[in-house]
Symmetry: C2
Subunit: 269 residues, 2 copies
């Protein structure tokens, strides 16, 4: 059974307005089914070319959808065309200073700079819809939780200062479901694509599935195996791992930017 | 029947050495079967972020494989690890000044600047191998020619100064082959992916298939239809259309950078 979140029937524009007004907080998991949600990374332009290169070199964790014009807080119109504002339209942000978490905030207007560039990266929430449609139910949605995310020992390919390990999300499935899971998700390369690992968590450096680094732990039945997907929280881990000089802003894990783009668009293009 | 070119059995490193020494000239079509060939765009760093954004927004004509560190003429080692040099290792270049063709040259060492960034884009030569393996023979290879390429009226999505129309390559097939052509090429998104148009050339602004804007005309049988694919010559047309200020260097159409990467790698990743 899939639990409906309170905002399952909002349009993306209506949800963004709620978030902007403080009337929706926490995760966007399950919100606006059918629409692409995006991971957010905001950096000064001095780091923009190197981060974009990092995305090209690591397309599974960092599937880059688009970027803003330098200094503009407004997404490209194909992502949201109602004057959406990345400084206010996510439920929760993380502000980073010299690679350390400075604070979490529900509005980053006060931190905004004219030399900021905003990166929108695809999010696995998009392929969850495809999984559910294929009768492959998604545990954290069933349990009304945020997806569990873990740091791994899998190194990303570096670019400039950006280097560090991949973060993965996890969804448990029974062995006979694994073929279909791979088939459904592999088609969606703009949103992390197929699994990067299946089975033994220790093989990719995860000690305890009950203690995710981000998000919530979910139950795993005795006949299920964990399936791991590249995760858009990876840039946050990289900012931390490489102690990125200066300021950076990201979404808080699970608190995404909800776009006007249909998930179907990403499968076709 | 597929004609073997004189360099069909060279390794990419051996071919690059021949090119560097002036012992292979002209097109690289048919050279080093099985290996990825790349379109090349060289720009001053001031345009790099905007051109990279252009690639992200136009992934079919501009499937970005990787870029160099600013100022380095050496490709990332996964593309070529023998100290390859982009200033000498292509058979022919085009040098552009303020959006006009300044000259063609077989060596651009004299034009090199320390602020240049080199962009490597996927090339349809990669999916030709897949087509041939699927018994869908490729006309210009059969006829020992360069692929025919045409300017279209299809606008690219702009980024900064980069705006203009798409260039396409064309291969003729019989109607009953079209499904398989689409199936084989759609899998290879890192090298332009599936057809962008099939049939009537006028619908995309092409007046005469016998007069390609780049490359060579090929014969089309009366029971065949033209199939058009996004082409990596598009950036050259865009540099022209937008009269890009300053200098830019590209490969000459059909004279590609031959990498050490197997085509199979692009299908899988």
């Amino acid at each position: 059974m899939i639990m409906q979140t309170p905002n399952a029937f909002d349009t993306p524009a209506a949800l963004r307005q709620k978030i902007r007004g403080g009337r929706h907080t926490g995760t966007t998991a399950g919100c606006c089914p059918g629409f692409v949600q995006a991971n957010l990374v905001i950096l000064p332009i001095e780091h923009a070319l190197e981060f974009m290169t990092f995305c090209i070199r690591n397309p599974k964790p960092c599937p880059l959808l688009d970027i803003t014009d330098p200094g503009s807080p407004h997404p490209p119109t194909w992502l949201a065309n109602d004057g959406a504002d990345v400084r206010t339209d996510l439920p929760m942000y993380r502000v980073w200073q010299n690679g350390k978490l400075l604070k979490e905030a529900d509005d980053v207007t006060d931190y905004w700079r004219d030399d900021f560039v905003v990166f929108f990266l695809g999010c696995s929430f998009s392929f969850e819809e495809a999984l559910v449609k294929a009768n492959l139910s998604v545990r954290h949605l069933e349990e009304g939780k945020n997806v569990p995310m873990y740091k791994t020992n899998i190194p990303c390919r570096p670019a400039g200062p950006f280097q560090g390990n991949m973060v993965v999300s996890m969804r448990p499935y029974r062995p006979e479901q694994l073929g279909r899971v791979s088939e459904v998700t592999s088609r969606m390369k703009a949103v992390h694509g197929g699994p990067i690992h299946t089975g033994d968590p220790a093989a990719i450096g995860i000690i305890d599935l009950g203690q995710p680094d981000y998000g919530d732990a979910v139950s795993i039945a005795s006949d299920e195996v964990p399936v791991f997907f590249a995760c858009g929280v990876t840039p946050q881990n990289v900012i931390l791992d490489c102690r990125l000089p200066g300021i950076a802003i990201t979404h808080a894990p699970g608190a995404m930017f909800v776009t006007d783009v249909l998930n179907d668009f990403l499968t076709q293009n």
